[in-house]
Amino acid sequence: MSAKDNKSDLAARAASYKARSAGIKRRVVICAGTGCVANGSLKVSAEFEKECAAAGLDVTVELKPESKGVFVSHSGCQGFCQMGPLVTVLPDDIMYTKVKPEDVAEIVKETLAANRVVERLLYVNPADGKHCRGAGDIPFYKKQHRFVLKECGLIDPENIDEYISRGGYEAARKAFLEMTPAGICADILKSGLRGRGGGGFPSGRKWELTRVQPGPKKYVICNGDEGDPGAFMDRSVMEGNPHSVIEGMLITARAIGADEGYVYVRTEYPLAVKRMRIAIADAEKAGVLGKGVFGTGHDFTLHVMEGAGAFVCGEETALMASIEGRRGMPNPKPPFPAQSGLWGKPTVINNVETLATVPLILAMGAEAYAKTGSKGSTGTKNFALTGHVANTGLIEVPFGTTLREIVFDIAGGVTADGGKIWNEGFKAVQIGGPSGGCLTAEHLDLPMDFDSLKSIGAMVGSGGLVVMNKNTCMVGIARYFMQFTQNESCGKCVLCREGTRQMLALLDDIMEGRATKDTIPLLKKLALAVQKGSLCGLGKTAPNPVLSTLRYFPEEYAAHVEHKHCPAGRCKALAKYEIVPELCKGCTLCSRKCPVGAISGEPRKAHKIDGAKCIKCGACAEACKFKAIKGGK
C-alpha cells in the first residue's frame, strides 16, 4: 500500500462512517464509565432500545448504511460520576442525570417522540435551584476546558471508525509520512508538554534523549498504573478514548524509532484493560498498528500488560521490572530508561494523559498548544475531584487555574458531612496523593501549575484533589497516607521500609494519646531521613503528607500531643463523650443506640455516659437530636 493510498484509507473510513450516520436523527449517548455502569447505566441502555421500538421509533445500536432514527450508543466516563447514570440526547444537547430504567419510557415519549424536555431529570444547580438543560449550563462543565477529555464521554470507545471520523490517527499518519523523528521531538519540546504522571519532566526532551540512542530495538511504554488513591484520570481516558492513547504511542514510537510497546494497566481497572485490548485489535485491523503502519516500512506492535496490585510499579524502573516478569522493585537511576530501559534497551515511558495529549498537539500545532496554560506549564490538566464537595468527578482545566475556581465554581463548594453546602467549612485540599501535600485557605488563589505548587512544598502529582472540611483531622489524614506508603513500600531501602513503619507508630502515639514533647521532633527528623535514604519516588515523597500537615496545621498536632485532644473530634482514642444535662431531654434515643449499654438514665431526665464502658463509637452523638452530647465533633 502506498502512502497516498493510506491517506485515502483513513478518509474513506471516515466518509463511510459519515454516510452510515447520515440517516440518524437523534443520538442518545449513555455513559458507560465505571461509575455509571455501577449505577446501572447498561440497564438504562437496554431499556432505551426496548422503549424506542415499543414507541414505534427506528432505533439502532450499531450504525449500518440503512440506519435511521435514533442511535443509542455508549461512551466513556463523562466525569460527573456522582450524578450518574448520565444520558445525553444529541443534537438537542440535553443532559439527563440519575436516569433509572423506569425513567426511560418518559424520555422516549417526551424527548425523542415529542421534542420536549423532561424537566425532572435535568440537573438542578444547588446554588440557585435552576434546572440546567445541557452540559453547557451546568457550572461543573461550564468552567472546565475539556481538551484531552473532549471526546471522552461522547464517542463510543469501542468503535474505531468514530475516532477516525473525528480526525483520529491523522496526527500519527502525519508523523509517519510527513515528519522526521527529530522534527517531532522538537515540536513536542516547543509545545512545552510536561509529564502528567507526577514528575513534570519535559516530554520532548525525554524523547530526544531516547531518539539519539543507537541500536535498532527501542520501546515505548504507557504508564497506566494509576495507583494514587483518589485519582482516576488515566482510567477515564483509557476507558473513554483508548485510541487517543494508542495514537500518542504511535507518534512516540515514530519519534524515537521504537517498534514495540506496552500499555501497563492496573488490574483494578478491568474495563480499561478490556477497552484497550479491543482498541488495539481494531487499530491493527485498520492498518494503523502492527506491521507496516500507514503503508510505510515501520512496524509497531503493542501489548497490554495487566498489573498485579503493587503501587510501587507506577515508578518507571519498577514498572519495567514488572513487565520483565520480576518483583516490581525500583532500580537506581542513572542509567535512565532513555539509555537502558526495558530489557536494557532505550525506552520512553510516559503517562496515559501525556500520551493522549500528543496527537492533539500535532493536530493543532505546538505554538497554538503552548498558548493555553501558564508559563512553564502549558496545556490542560485532568484532576480527579473528590471528598467534601458538592460535585465530585473528573475535571479538566488549563494549568494556572486557581484552587478557588476549582473548589467553589466547578466543584460547587464545600459540603458538610450530610452533603449540605458549607463553604465556611473549607479546611484543606490534599493534592498529589501519598506523595503530595496540603493546600489551605491561604493557597486558594494560587495558580495550579507545576512550579507554583512545588514552591509551597506540594506537587501536581498525578492529579488527585481531595477536598476536606473542618471535621477532618489532619493528623488522621497524614496517618492514612503513611499507612498507605508503609503498606506499599517494596522493602528494598531500609529507611523506606522501616522508617515509614516507625513514622506510622509515632503518628499512632499522637492519635492515641501516648505522645510526649519528643514525639514531633523525632517524627520530623525521621521524615527527613526517609526522604534522603530512599531510592525511588515512593520513599522520597512518603513523608510529604506528614511534613505538609505539620507545616500548615501545627496547632492540631500540638492539641493532640499537649492536651490529648482532637480538635476535629475524629481520633477515637482521645474522644470523651459527655452528656450536657441542660440540653438532654431524656428521650432515651442514645441509650437505645449505644451498642455497649454505657448510657443510663430515666425517661425525660438527663442521661449519663459511663466512661469505663464507652467504646467511643460516637453513635450516641450522631443519634442525639438536641446536640446534647459533647466530646465527639
Binding site: 465505571t34 488513591p229 503493587a310 518483583r327 465530585t392 506499599e488
Partner: protein, 165 residues
C-alpha cells in the same frame, strides 16, 4: 482423586503453552492460573517454575510481592472495600467493620469457614465519584452505607440458600 489432579495440570500446561513458557510472561501466567483456580496452589507454582526455567523461589517471590496474588483459597464471593482517599474520608471503614462483625472476620481471618465470602480492602478502585465503594467479585457498588452493605450481603446469602435447595 487422581483424575482431578491430571486435569488440573492440563489446564496449567495450556496456559503455559499460550504464553510460550517464557519467563518474562511469568506474571500473565500466574494471573491466568489464578483466574482458573482462584488462588495459586503451591504445587502449581513449583510446576510453573520448572516449566519456564526459573527457580521456585523466583515464582514465590513474584507471587508474594503483588497483592493481587493469593496463596490461600478465597471465598466464592470476594468483597473488596475501597480504602482510597475519597472513600476513606467518606468513612469506608464503617463498611469494613460492618461486614467483618457480621461475618465474624478480621484482618487476619479474611475468609469465612464455609468458603463463601472473603472480605478485604483495596487501595483505590478509581470510582471515587461514588465513594464509598465496594466490589463484589467484579460488580461495583457505589455510595454505600453500612446498612446497604449488610442488605447486599443478606441478598447474596439468600440467593445462595436458594441455589442449595
Amino acid at each position: 482423586m487422581p483424575d482431578k489432579k491430571i486435569r488440573k495440570f492440563e489446564k496449567v500446561c495450556e496456559i503455559l503453552d499460550k504464553n510460550g513458557r517464557d519467563p518474562a510472561r511469568l506474571i500473565p501466567i500466574l494471573q491466568a492460573v489464578q483466574e482458573e483456580y482462584r488462588y495459586l496452589p503451591q504445587e502449581i507454582m513449583t510446576y510453573i517454575a520448572t516449566s519456564v526455567g526459573v527457580s521456585p523461589a523466583r515464582v514465590y517471590g513474584v507471587s508474594t510481592f503483588y497483592s493481587h496474588f493469593a496463596l490461600v483459597p478465597k471465598g466464592k464471593y470476594v468483597i473488596r472495600i475501597c480504602d482510597g482517599t475519597a472513600c476513606h474520608v467518606k468513612k469506608s471503614t464503617g463498611l469494613l467493620d460492618a461486614l467483618r462483625s457480621r461475618l465474624s472476620l478480621s484482618e487476619t481471618k479474611p475468609t469465612t469457614d464455609d468458603m463463601l465470602f472473603t472480605v478485604e480492602t483495596v487501595s483505590c478502585l478509581g470510582a471515587c465519584g461514588l465513594a464509598p465503594v465496594l466490589v463484589v467479585n467484579d460488580e461495583v457498588h457505589g455510595q454505600m452505607t453500612p446498612e446497604k452493605t449488610i442488605a447486599l450481603l443478606d441478598s447474596i446469602i439468600a440467593k445462595e440458600k436458594e441455589n442449595v435447595r
